[in-house]
Protein backbone atom coordinates (compact mmCIF):
# COMPACT_ATOMS: atom_id res chain seq x y z
CA UNK A 1 0.00 0.00 0.00
CA UNK A 2 1.37 3.34 -0.89
CA UNK A 3 -0.07 5.79 1.54
CA UNK A 4 2.23 8.47 0.21
CA UNK A 5 0.35 8.27 -3.05
CA UNK A 6 -2.85 9.28 -1.30
CA UNK A 7 -1.59 12.16 0.71
CA UNK A 8 1.16 13.60 -1.39
CA UNK A 9 -0.96 14.85 -4.20
CA UNK A 10 -3.57 17.37 -3.32
CA UNK A 11 -5.45 16.59 -6.49
CA UNK A 12 -7.00 13.19 -6.67
CA UNK A 13 -6.87 11.50 -10.05
CA UNK A 14 -10.65 11.77 -10.46
CA UNK A 15 -10.35 15.55 -10.12
CA UNK A 16 -7.94 15.86 -13.05
CA UNK A 17 -10.74 15.05 -15.44
CA UNK A 18 -12.94 17.96 -16.37
CA UNK A 19 -16.57 17.19 -15.65
CA UNK A 20 -19.76 18.74 -17.06
CA UNK A 21 -20.51 22.25 -15.70
CA UNK A 22 -17.17 22.23 -13.92
CA UNK A 23 -16.92 26.02 -14.03
CA UNK A 24 -19.58 26.04 -11.29
CA UNK A 25 -19.99 22.50 -10.01
CA UNK A 26 -16.61 21.30 -8.72
CA UNK A 27 -17.73 17.82 -7.74
CA UNK A 28 -20.67 15.45 -7.27
CA UNK A 29 -20.72 12.99 -4.44
CA UNK A 30 -23.02 10.11 -3.54
CA UNK A 31 -22.68 8.34 -0.23
CA UNK A 32 -24.79 5.39 0.88
CA UNK A 33 -25.03 3.88 4.35
CA UNK A 34 -25.28 0.15 4.94
CA UNK A 35 -25.16 -2.06 8.02
CA UNK A 36 -24.51 -5.76 8.38
CA UNK A 37 -27.44 -7.79 9.66
CA UNK A 38 -26.98 -9.38 13.05
CA UNK A 39 -24.35 -7.01 14.43
CA UNK A 40 -24.97 -3.94 16.60
CA UNK A 41 -24.30 -0.59 14.93
CA UNK A 42 -20.77 0.83 15.43
CA UNK A 43 -21.79 3.11 18.33
CA UNK A 44 -22.54 0.03 20.43
CA UNK A 45 -20.24 -2.57 18.94
CA UNK A 46 -17.53 -4.18 21.03
CA UNK A 47 -13.94 -4.14 19.82
CA UNK A 48 -14.23 -7.67 18.52
CA UNK A 49 -17.49 -6.94 16.70
CA UNK A 50 -15.97 -3.85 15.11
CA UNK A 51 -12.88 -5.84 14.09
CA UNK A 52 -15.20 -8.47 12.64
CA UNK A 53 -16.70 -5.86 10.31
CA UNK A 54 -13.23 -4.69 9.24
CA UNK A 55 -12.19 -8.29 8.60
CA UNK A 56 -15.33 -9.06 6.59
CA UNK A 57 -14.87 -6.12 4.22
CA UNK A 58 -11.15 -6.81 3.97
CA UNK A 59 -11.78 -10.41 2.97
CA UNK A 60 -14.43 -9.43 0.43
CA UNK A 61 -11.91 -7.07 -1.13
CA UNK A 62 -9.14 -9.69 -1.09
CA UNK A 63 -11.38 -12.13 -2.94
CA UNK A 64 -12.35 -9.60 -5.60
CA UNK A 65 -9.30 -7.34 -5.77
CA UNK A 66 -9.04 -7.91 -9.51
CA UNK A 67 -12.38 -6.18 -10.13
CA UNK A 68 -11.76 -3.09 -12.28
CA UNK A 69 -12.89 -0.55 -9.69
CA UNK A 70 -10.78 -2.14 -6.96
CA UNK A 71 -7.54 -2.61 -8.85
CA UNK A 72 -4.64 -1.22 -6.83
CA UNK A 73 -7.07 -0.04 -4.16
CA UNK A 74 -5.66 0.49 -0.68
CA UNK A 75 -7.10 -0.78 2.58
CA UNK A 76 -6.16 1.67 5.30
CA UNK A 77 -6.84 1.36 9.00
CA UNK A 78 -7.30 4.57 10.95
CA UNK A 79 -5.11 3.18 13.71
CA UNK A 80 -2.18 3.04 11.27
CA UNK A 81 -2.38 6.75 10.46
CA UNK A 82 -1.05 9.76 12.32
CA UNK A 83 -3.58 12.48 13.18
CA UNK A 84 -2.03 14.59 10.43
CA UNK A 85 -2.38 11.87 7.78
CA UNK A 86 -6.03 11.46 8.74
CA UNK A 87 -6.59 15.17 8.52
CA UNK A 88 -5.20 15.25 5.00
CA UNK A 89 -7.65 12.53 3.96
CA UNK A 90 -10.49 14.58 5.49
CA UNK A 91 -9.36 17.72 3.64
CA UNK A 92 -9.48 15.74 0.40
CA UNK A 93 -13.01 14.62 1.35
CA UNK A 94 -11.90 10.98 1.14
CA UNK A 95 -12.96 10.17 4.68
CA UNK A 96 -15.32 11.92 7.08
CA UNK A 97 -14.12 13.84 10.14
CA UNK A 98 -16.01 11.31 12.23
CA UNK A 99 -14.08 8.36 10.79
CA UNK A 100 -10.82 10.23 11.40
CA UNK A 101 -11.52 11.33 14.94
CA UNK A 102 -14.07 9.06 16.57
CA UNK A 103 -13.65 5.59 15.08
CA UNK A 104 -10.91 3.58 16.83
CA UNK A 105 -11.76 0.60 14.60
CA UNK A 106 -12.30 2.69 11.50
CA UNK A 107 -10.86 1.74 8.15
CA UNK A 108 -11.23 2.81 4.56
CA UNK A 109 -10.95 1.03 1.24
CA UNK A 110 -9.74 3.63 -1.25
CA UNK A 111 -9.63 3.17 -5.00
CA UNK A 112 -6.46 4.22 -6.76
CA UNK A 113 -8.05 7.26 -8.39
CA UNK A 114 -9.66 8.11 -5.02
CA UNK A 115 -13.09 8.34 -6.64
CA UNK A 116 -14.30 5.51 -4.43
CA UNK A 117 -13.94 5.25 -0.70
CA UNK A 118 -15.66 2.66 1.39
CA UNK A 119 -15.59 3.71 5.01
CA UNK A 120 -15.86 1.05 7.67
CA UNK A 121 -17.11 1.54 11.24
CA UNK A 122 -18.04 5.14 10.87
CA UNK A 123 -21.56 5.89 12.15
CA UNK A 124 -22.71 2.88 10.13
CA UNK A 125 -20.80 -0.32 9.43
CA UNK A 126 -20.28 0.64 5.81
CA UNK A 127 -20.46 3.91 3.95
CA UNK A 128 -19.82 3.81 0.25
CA UNK A 129 -18.73 7.13 -1.23
CA UNK A 130 -18.28 7.95 -4.90
CA UNK A 131 -16.89 11.26 -6.13
CA UNK A 132 -17.13 12.52 -9.70
CA UNK A 133 -15.93 15.80 -11.21
CA UNK A 134 -18.57 18.32 -12.28
CA UNK A 135 -22.29 17.65 -12.21
CA UNK A 136 -22.56 13.86 -12.50
CA UNK A 137 -24.83 12.71 -9.72
CA UNK A 138 -26.41 9.89 -11.74
CA UNK A 139 -23.00 8.46 -12.53
CA UNK A 140 -21.97 8.70 -8.91
CA UNK A 141 -25.15 6.92 -7.83
CA UNK A 142 -24.69 4.20 -10.46
CA UNK A 143 -21.18 3.57 -9.21
CA UNK A 144 -22.24 3.54 -5.55
CA UNK A 145 -25.10 1.17 -6.32
CA UNK A 146 -22.73 -1.08 -8.24
CA UNK A 147 -20.40 -1.23 -5.24
CA UNK A 148 -23.39 -1.91 -3.02
CA UNK A 149 -24.31 -4.89 -5.24
CA UNK A 150 -20.74 -6.13 -5.01
CA UNK A 151 -20.73 -5.97 -1.20
CA UNK A 152 -24.14 -7.57 -1.05
CA UNK A 153 -22.74 -10.66 -2.72
CA UNK A 154 -20.62 -11.07 0.40
CA UNK A 155 -22.92 -9.90 3.21
CA UNK A 156 -26.54 -9.63 4.25
CA UNK A 157 -27.41 -6.02 4.94
CA UNK A 158 -29.85 -4.96 7.66
CA UNK A 159 -33.00 -4.27 5.65
CA UNK A 160 -36.68 -4.05 6.47
CA UNK A 161 -39.56 -4.14 3.97
CA UNK A 162 -41.11 -1.01 5.42
CA UNK A 163 -38.11 0.97 6.65
CA UNK A 164 -35.64 0.04 3.93
CA UNK A 165 -31.94 -0.06 4.80
CA UNK A 166 -31.59 0.26 8.56
CA UNK A 167 -29.13 2.91 9.67
CA UNK A 168 -27.72 4.00 12.98
CA UNK A 169 -29.39 7.41 12.68
CA UNK A 170 -33.02 7.58 11.52
CA UNK A 171 -32.16 10.61 9.37
CA UNK A 172 -30.42 8.20 6.96
CA UNK A 173 -33.09 5.49 7.04
CA UNK A 174 -34.53 3.96 3.89
CA UNK A 175 -32.19 4.56 0.98
CA UNK A 176 -29.29 5.60 3.22
CA UNK A 177 -28.33 8.01 0.46
CA UNK A 178 -26.71 11.40 0.76
CA UNK A 179 -26.12 13.00 -2.60
CA UNK A 180 -24.29 16.30 -2.72
CA UNK A 181 -22.64 18.75 -5.06
CA UNK A 182 -19.96 21.30 -4.35
CA UNK A 183 -20.79 24.53 -6.12
CA UNK A 184 -18.80 27.75 -6.53
CA UNK A 185 -21.10 30.78 -6.45
CA UNK A 186 -18.87 33.88 -6.49
CA UNK A 187 -21.04 36.04 -8.76
CA UNK A 188 -24.20 35.45 -6.73
CA UNK A 189 -22.15 36.39 -3.66
CA UNK A 190 -20.90 39.60 -5.33
CA UNK A 191 -24.37 40.82 -6.23
CA UNK A 192 -25.52 39.84 -2.73
CA UNK A 193 -28.07 37.28 -3.85
CA UNK A 194 -26.86 34.42 -1.65
CA UNK A 195 -28.75 35.53 1.46
CA UNK A 196 -31.89 35.28 -0.65
CA UNK A 197 -31.03 32.09 -2.51
CA UNK A 198 -29.71 29.88 0.27
CA UNK A 199 -32.88 29.92 2.43
CA UNK A 200 -34.91 28.94 -0.64
CA UNK A 201 -32.73 25.86 -1.12
CA UNK A 202 -33.44 24.88 2.46
CA UNK A 203 -37.16 25.43 1.96
CA UNK A 204 -37.31 22.88 -0.85
CA UNK A 205 -35.93 20.24 1.49
CA UNK A 206 -32.23 20.39 0.66
CA UNK A 207 -29.34 21.27 2.95
CA UNK A 208 -26.66 23.89 2.29
CA UNK A 209 -23.32 23.85 4.06
CA UNK A 210 -19.81 25.18 3.76
CA UNK A 211 -17.41 22.85 1.98
CA UNK A 212 -15.88 21.07 4.91
CA UNK A 213 -19.13 19.45 5.99
CA UNK A 214 -21.58 20.04 8.76
CA UNK A 215 -21.38 23.27 10.66
CA UNK A 216 -18.36 24.48 8.74
CA UNK A 217 -18.34 28.02 7.48
CA UNK A 218 -18.50 28.69 3.77
CA UNK A 219 -15.01 29.48 2.54
CA UNK A 220 -14.30 30.88 -0.89
CA UNK A 221 -17.99 30.95 -1.89
CA UNK A 222 -17.98 27.16 -2.06
CA UNK A 223 -21.19 25.50 -0.95
CA UNK A 224 -22.21 21.91 -0.52
CA UNK A 225 -25.85 21.22 -1.38
CA UNK A 226 -27.35 17.87 -0.44
CA UNK A 227 -30.61 15.99 0.00
CA UNK A 228 -32.16 15.70 3.46
CA UNK A 229 -34.90 13.13 2.89
CA UNK A 230 -33.78 9.51 2.53
CA UNK A 231 -37.06 7.66 3.13
CA UNK A 232 -40.16 7.45 0.94
CA UNK A 233 -38.46 8.46 -2.30
CA UNK A 234 -36.38 6.35 -4.63
CA UNK A 235 -32.69 7.12 -5.07
CA UNK A 236 -33.40 8.30 -8.61
CA UNK A 237 -36.12 10.68 -7.42
CA UNK A 238 -33.84 12.08 -4.74
CA UNK A 239 -31.04 12.65 -7.26
CA UNK A 240 -33.38 14.11 -9.89
CA UNK A 241 -34.69 16.63 -7.43
CA UNK A 242 -31.24 17.69 -6.27
CA UNK A 243 -29.99 17.86 -9.85
CA UNK A 244 -32.99 19.99 -10.86
CA UNK A 245 -32.33 22.50 -8.10
CA UNK A 246 -28.61 22.60 -8.89
CA UNK A 247 -29.37 23.28 -12.56
CA UNK A 248 -31.44 26.29 -11.52
CA UNK A 249 -28.68 27.52 -9.25
CA UNK A 250 -26.21 27.18 -12.14
CA UNK A 251 -28.52 29.31 -14.31
CA UNK A 252 -28.69 32.01 -11.64
CA UNK A 253 -24.92 32.02 -11.17
CA UNK A 254 -24.30 32.19 -14.93
CA UNK A 255 -26.80 35.00 -15.19
CA UNK A 256 -25.10 36.88 -12.36
CA UNK A 257 -21.71 36.42 -14.07
CA UNK A 258 -23.07 37.81 -17.32
CA UNK A 259 -24.60 40.79 -15.55
CA UNK A 260 -21.40 41.64 -13.71
CA UNK A 261 -19.37 41.31 -16.91
CA UNK A 262 -21.83 43.51 -18.72
CA UNK A 263 -22.22 46.20 -16.07
CA UNK A 264 -18.84 46.31 -14.37
CA UNK A 265 -16.26 44.38 -16.36
CA UNK A 266 -13.41 46.70 -15.38
CA UNK A 267 -14.17 46.52 -11.66
CA UNK A 268 -14.36 42.74 -11.90
CA UNK A 269 -11.08 42.50 -13.78
CA UNK A 270 -9.50 44.80 -11.23
CA UNK A 271 -10.74 42.65 -8.37
CA UNK A 272 -9.47 39.46 -10.02
CA UNK A 273 -5.99 40.91 -10.59
CA UNK A 274 -5.78 42.47 -7.12
CA UNK A 275 -6.55 39.09 -5.64
CA UNK A 276 -4.00 37.48 -7.93
CA UNK A 277 -1.46 40.06 -6.83
CA UNK A 278 -2.07 39.31 -3.17
CA UNK A 279 -1.81 35.55 -3.76
CA UNK A 280 1.38 35.99 -5.77
CA UNK A 281 3.12 38.32 -3.32
CA UNK A 282 1.72 38.18 0.21
CA UNK A 283 3.92 36.98 3.07
CA UNK A 284 1.18 36.15 5.58
CA UNK A 285 -2.33 34.99 4.67
CA UNK A 286 -5.03 33.22 6.69
CA UNK A 287 -7.16 30.50 5.14
CA UNK A 288 -10.28 32.63 4.99
CA UNK A 289 -8.62 35.35 2.96
CA UNK A 290 -6.72 32.85 0.83
CA UNK A 291 -9.92 31.03 -0.07
CA UNK A 292 -11.64 34.31 -0.95
CA UNK A 293 -8.71 35.42 -3.18
CA UNK A 294 -8.60 32.00 -4.84
CA UNK A 295 -12.34 32.25 -5.44
CA UNK A 296 -11.89 35.65 -7.15
CA UNK A 297 -9.09 34.37 -9.36
CA UNK A 298 -10.96 31.19 -10.19
CA UNK A 299 -13.90 33.32 -11.36
CA UNK A 300 -11.45 35.32 -13.48
CA UNK A 301 -10.17 32.09 -15.03
CA UNK A 302 -13.71 30.88 -15.78
CA UNK A 303 -14.54 34.21 -17.44
CA UNK A 304 -11.27 34.35 -19.40
CA UNK A 305 -10.23 37.55 -17.63
CA UNK A 306 -6.90 36.16 -16.50
CA UNK A 307 -4.44 33.97 -18.35
CA UNK A 308 -1.62 33.70 -15.83
CA UNK A 309 -3.11 30.73 -14.06
CA UNK A 310 -5.30 27.68 -14.80
CA UNK A 311 -8.47 26.39 -13.14
CA UNK A 312 -6.74 23.19 -12.10
CA UNK A 313 -4.05 25.05 -10.16
CA UNK A 314 -6.79 26.96 -8.33
CA UNK A 315 -8.49 23.65 -7.44
CA UNK A 316 -5.22 22.26 -6.23
CA UNK A 317 -4.43 25.30 -4.08
CA UNK A 318 -7.87 25.28 -2.46
CA UNK A 319 -6.98 21.87 -1.05
CA UNK A 320 -3.28 22.43 -0.39
CA UNK A 321 -3.70 25.51 1.77
CA UNK A 322 -5.83 23.62 4.32
CA UNK A 323 -4.12 23.14 7.71
CA UNK A 324 -3.49 19.39 7.33
CA UNK A 325 -1.83 19.76 3.95
CA UNK A 326 0.29 22.70 5.05
CA UNK A 327 1.63 20.71 7.96
CA UNK A 328 2.18 17.68 5.76
CA UNK A 329 4.12 19.89 3.38
CA UNK A 330 6.11 21.42 6.21
CA UNK A 331 6.73 18.00 7.73
CA UNK A 332 5.84 19.26 11.19
CA UNK A 333 3.04 20.57 13.36
CA UNK A 334 2.43 24.28 12.87
CA UNK A 335 0.54 26.74 15.00
CA UNK A 336 -1.96 29.03 13.24
CA UNK A 337 0.49 31.96 12.86
CA UNK A 338 3.12 29.70 11.32
CA UNK A 339 0.51 28.21 9.03
CA UNK A 340 -0.39 31.67 7.70
CA UNK A 341 3.26 32.24 6.77
CA UNK A 342 3.64 28.78 5.22
CA UNK A 343 0.38 29.21 3.34
CA UNK A 344 1.52 32.46 1.74
CA UNK A 345 4.84 30.85 0.79
CA UNK A 346 3.19 27.76 -0.68
CA UNK A 347 0.84 29.83 -2.82
CA UNK A 348 3.68 32.05 -4.05
CA UNK A 349 5.78 29.05 -4.97
CA UNK A 350 2.93 27.30 -6.73
CA UNK A 351 2.06 30.38 -8.79
CA UNK A 352 5.70 30.97 -9.67
CA UNK A 353 6.01 27.38 -10.83
CA UNK A 354 2.93 27.92 -12.99
CA UNK A 355 4.50 30.98 -14.59
CA UNK A 356 7.68 29.08 -15.41
CA UNK A 357 5.97 25.88 -16.59
CA UNK A 358 2.34 26.56 -17.43
CA UNK A 359 0.26 23.42 -16.89
CA UNK A 360 -2.13 24.15 -19.73
Amino acid sequence: MSLQHFIKNAISEWMRVKGPQSDIVFSSRVRIARNLAGLPFPTLSTSSQAEEVVRMVYEAWQKDSDLPFLKKAAFIRMSDLTPLEKRVLVEKHLISPQLAEESPHGAVLLSQDEAISIMINEEDHIRIQCLFPGLQLEKAWEMASHLDDWLEKHFTFAFDDQCGYLTSCPTNLGTGIRASVMVHLPALAMIQQLPRLLPVITQVGLAVRGIYGEGSEALGQLYQISNQVTLGQSEEEIIDKLQGVVRQIIEHELDARRRILHQSALELEDRVYRSYGILAHSRVIDSKEAMQRLSDVRLGVDLNLIKEVSASVMNELMVMIQPGFLQQYAGQRLDPEERDVRRAKLIRERLLMENNNPSE
Binding site: E123, F159, P170, L173, T175, G232
Partner: protein, 173 residues
Protein backbone atom coordinates in the same frame (compact mmCIF):
# COMPACT_ATOMS: atom_id res chain seq x y z
CA UNK B 1 -37.37 -10.94 25.12
CA UNK B 2 -38.72 -12.15 21.81
CA UNK B 3 -42.42 -12.36 21.11
CA UNK B 4 -43.66 -15.89 21.95
CA UNK B 5 -46.19 -15.75 19.11
CA UNK B 6 -43.96 -15.08 16.15
CA UNK B 7 -40.54 -15.52 17.72
CA UNK B 8 -39.24 -12.76 15.47
CA UNK B 9 -39.89 -9.35 16.90
CA UNK B 10 -39.16 -8.08 20.40
CA UNK B 11 -42.09 -8.35 22.84
CA UNK B 12 -42.79 -4.79 23.85
CA UNK B 13 -46.50 -4.83 24.51
CA UNK B 14 -48.20 -5.96 27.65
CA UNK B 15 -51.19 -7.96 26.51
CA UNK B 16 -54.03 -8.76 28.89
CA UNK B 17 -56.70 -11.27 27.98
CA UNK B 18 -59.76 -12.00 30.09
CA UNK B 19 -61.58 -15.20 29.28
CA UNK B 20 -64.50 -16.16 31.49
CA UNK B 21 -63.14 -14.01 34.22
CA UNK B 22 -59.68 -15.56 34.03
CA UNK B 23 -57.02 -13.04 33.37
CA UNK B 24 -53.97 -14.08 31.41
CA UNK B 25 -51.07 -11.79 30.80
CA UNK B 26 -48.53 -11.98 28.07
CA UNK B 27 -45.87 -9.90 26.43
CA UNK B 28 -46.20 -9.76 22.67
CA UNK B 29 -44.71 -7.82 19.81
CA UNK B 30 -46.73 -4.99 18.37
CA UNK B 31 -47.76 -6.85 15.26
CA UNK B 32 -49.03 -9.93 17.09
CA UNK B 33 -50.72 -7.86 19.79
CA UNK B 34 -52.42 -5.82 17.13
CA UNK B 35 -53.69 -8.92 15.40
CA UNK B 36 -54.99 -10.31 18.68
CA UNK B 37 -56.69 -7.09 19.56
CA UNK B 38 -58.55 -7.08 16.29
CA UNK B 39 -60.08 -10.50 16.71
CA UNK B 40 -63.27 -10.50 14.70
CA UNK B 41 -66.07 -12.27 16.48
CA UNK B 42 -68.28 -14.47 14.39
CA UNK B 43 -71.46 -15.33 16.21
CA UNK B 44 -72.17 -18.45 14.25
CA UNK B 45 -69.13 -18.72 12.08
CA UNK B 46 -67.43 -21.54 13.89
CA UNK B 47 -65.59 -23.06 10.95
CA UNK B 48 -64.72 -19.76 9.37
CA UNK B 49 -63.26 -18.48 12.53
CA UNK B 50 -61.11 -21.56 12.50
CA UNK B 51 -60.20 -21.02 8.88
CA UNK B 52 -59.17 -17.47 9.55
CA UNK B 53 -57.35 -18.21 12.76
CA UNK B 54 -55.11 -20.74 11.10
CA UNK B 55 -53.66 -17.84 9.12
CA UNK B 56 -53.71 -15.12 11.63
CA UNK B 57 -52.12 -17.46 14.06
CA UNK B 58 -54.29 -17.09 17.13
CA UNK B 59 -56.11 -19.54 19.32
CA UNK B 60 -59.84 -19.65 18.76
CA UNK B 61 -61.50 -18.37 21.89
CA UNK B 62 -65.20 -18.40 21.36
CA UNK B 63 -66.32 -17.53 24.80
CA UNK B 64 -64.02 -14.61 24.89
CA UNK B 65 -65.67 -11.63 26.49
CA UNK B 66 -62.87 -9.23 26.52
CA UNK B 67 -59.65 -9.07 24.67
CA UNK B 68 -57.63 -6.02 25.10
CA UNK B 69 -54.13 -5.03 24.34
CA UNK B 70 -52.87 -2.45 26.72
CA UNK B 71 -50.03 -0.70 25.08
CA UNK B 72 -47.92 -0.07 28.11
CA UNK B 73 -44.44 0.91 27.12
CA UNK B 74 -42.79 -0.65 30.09
CA UNK B 75 -39.45 1.08 29.98
CA UNK B 76 -38.91 0.38 26.31
CA UNK B 77 -35.60 -1.40 25.98
CA UNK B 78 -34.23 -3.08 22.89
CA UNK B 79 -33.96 -6.79 23.75
CA UNK B 80 -31.02 -7.23 21.39
CA UNK B 81 -28.69 -4.37 22.24
CA UNK B 82 -30.22 -3.10 25.48
CA UNK B 83 -30.68 0.46 24.34
CA UNK B 84 -33.58 2.31 25.97
CA UNK B 85 -35.68 4.93 24.28
CA UNK B 86 -34.27 7.54 26.63
CA UNK B 87 -30.75 6.69 25.57
CA UNK B 88 -31.78 6.98 21.96
CA UNK B 89 -33.18 10.41 22.78
CA UNK B 90 -29.76 11.42 24.09
CA UNK B 91 -27.58 9.84 21.36
CA UNK B 92 -29.88 10.31 18.41
CA UNK B 93 -28.50 6.99 17.21
CA UNK B 94 -29.95 3.52 17.46
CA UNK B 95 -27.90 0.66 18.85
CA UNK B 96 -28.85 -2.10 16.43
CA UNK B 97 -31.31 -2.92 13.69
CA UNK B 98 -33.80 -4.45 16.16
CA UNK B 99 -34.20 -1.03 17.79
CA UNK B 100 -36.32 -0.17 14.75
CA UNK B 101 -38.84 -2.85 15.79
CA UNK B 102 -38.61 -2.08 19.48
CA UNK B 103 -39.31 1.62 19.10
CA UNK B 104 -41.63 1.34 16.12
CA UNK B 105 -44.56 3.25 17.69
CA UNK B 106 -42.29 6.18 18.56
CA UNK B 107 -40.67 5.93 15.18
CA UNK B 108 -43.64 6.64 12.92
CA UNK B 109 -44.23 10.24 13.98
CA UNK B 110 -40.49 10.85 14.06
CA UNK B 111 -39.98 9.54 10.52
CA UNK B 112 -42.90 11.58 9.32
CA UNK B 113 -41.28 14.65 10.81
CA UNK B 114 -37.84 13.93 9.34
CA UNK B 115 -38.75 12.52 5.94
CA UNK B 116 -42.44 13.25 5.44
CA UNK B 117 -42.82 9.54 4.74
CA UNK B 118 -42.72 6.26 6.63
CA UNK B 119 -42.28 3.69 3.88
CA UNK B 120 -39.18 2.85 1.86
CA UNK B 121 -39.52 3.19 -1.90
CA UNK B 122 -35.94 2.83 -3.05
CA UNK B 123 -33.51 0.06 -3.77
CA UNK B 124 -34.13 -3.44 -2.44
CA UNK B 125 -31.24 -5.82 -1.80
CA UNK B 126 -31.00 -8.48 -4.48
CA UNK B 127 -31.30 -11.32 -2.01
CA UNK B 128 -34.41 -9.86 -0.34
CA UNK B 129 -36.16 -9.18 -3.62
CA UNK B 130 -37.80 -12.60 -4.11
CA UNK B 131 -38.89 -12.91 -0.50
CA UNK B 132 -40.19 -9.36 -0.43
CA UNK B 133 -42.36 -10.00 -3.46
CA UNK B 134 -43.83 -13.06 -1.77
CA UNK B 135 -44.46 -11.12 1.45
CA UNK B 136 -46.24 -8.34 -0.44
CA UNK B 137 -48.35 -10.96 -2.26
CA UNK B 138 -49.16 -12.61 1.07
CA UNK B 139 -50.40 -9.34 2.51
CA UNK B 140 -52.72 -8.87 -0.46
CA UNK B 141 -54.00 -12.46 -0.26
CA UNK B 142 -54.70 -12.14 3.46
CA UNK B 143 -56.78 -9.05 2.85
CA UNK B 144 -58.58 -10.86 0.06
CA UNK B 145 -59.23 -13.79 2.35
CA UNK B 146 -60.77 -11.57 5.00
CA UNK B 147 -63.06 -10.04 2.38
CA UNK B 148 -64.16 -13.43 1.07
CA UNK B 149 -64.92 -14.63 4.58
CA UNK B 150 -66.86 -11.48 5.28
CA UNK B 151 -68.85 -12.01 2.07
CA UNK B 152 -69.37 -15.65 3.03
CA UNK B 153 -67.74 -16.89 -0.18
CA UNK B 154 -66.23 -19.84 1.53
CA UNK B 155 -65.12 -21.88 -1.44
CA UNK B 156 -63.16 -18.94 -2.74
CA UNK B 157 -61.74 -18.35 0.71
CA UNK B 158 -60.52 -21.93 0.92
CA UNK B 159 -58.72 -21.53 -2.42
CA UNK B 160 -57.01 -18.38 -1.24
CA UNK B 161 -56.05 -20.12 1.98
CA UNK B 162 -54.30 -22.81 -0.07
CA UNK B 163 -52.44 -20.17 -2.03
CA UNK B 164 -51.35 -18.51 1.20
CA UNK B 165 -50.12 -21.84 2.57
CA UNK B 166 -48.11 -22.50 -0.56
CA UNK B 167 -46.48 -19.07 -0.44
CA UNK B 168 -45.70 -19.39 3.24
CA UNK B 169 -43.97 -22.68 2.60
CA UNK B 170 -42.01 -21.06 -0.19
CA UNK B 171 -40.91 -18.32 2.19
CA UNK B 172 -39.74 -20.77 4.80
CA UNK B 173 -37.48 -22.55 2.39
Amino acid sequence: MLCPECGKRPATIHYTKIINGNKTEQYLCEVCAHEKGDVPTFENGFSFQKLLSSFLNFEPSFSEHESRATVKHQTLRCPTCGMTYNQFGKFGRFGCSDCYYTFRTHLEPMLRRIHGHTTHRGKIPERTKGALKIRRKLELLKEELARKVQAEEFEEAAKIRDQIRALQEQLEQ
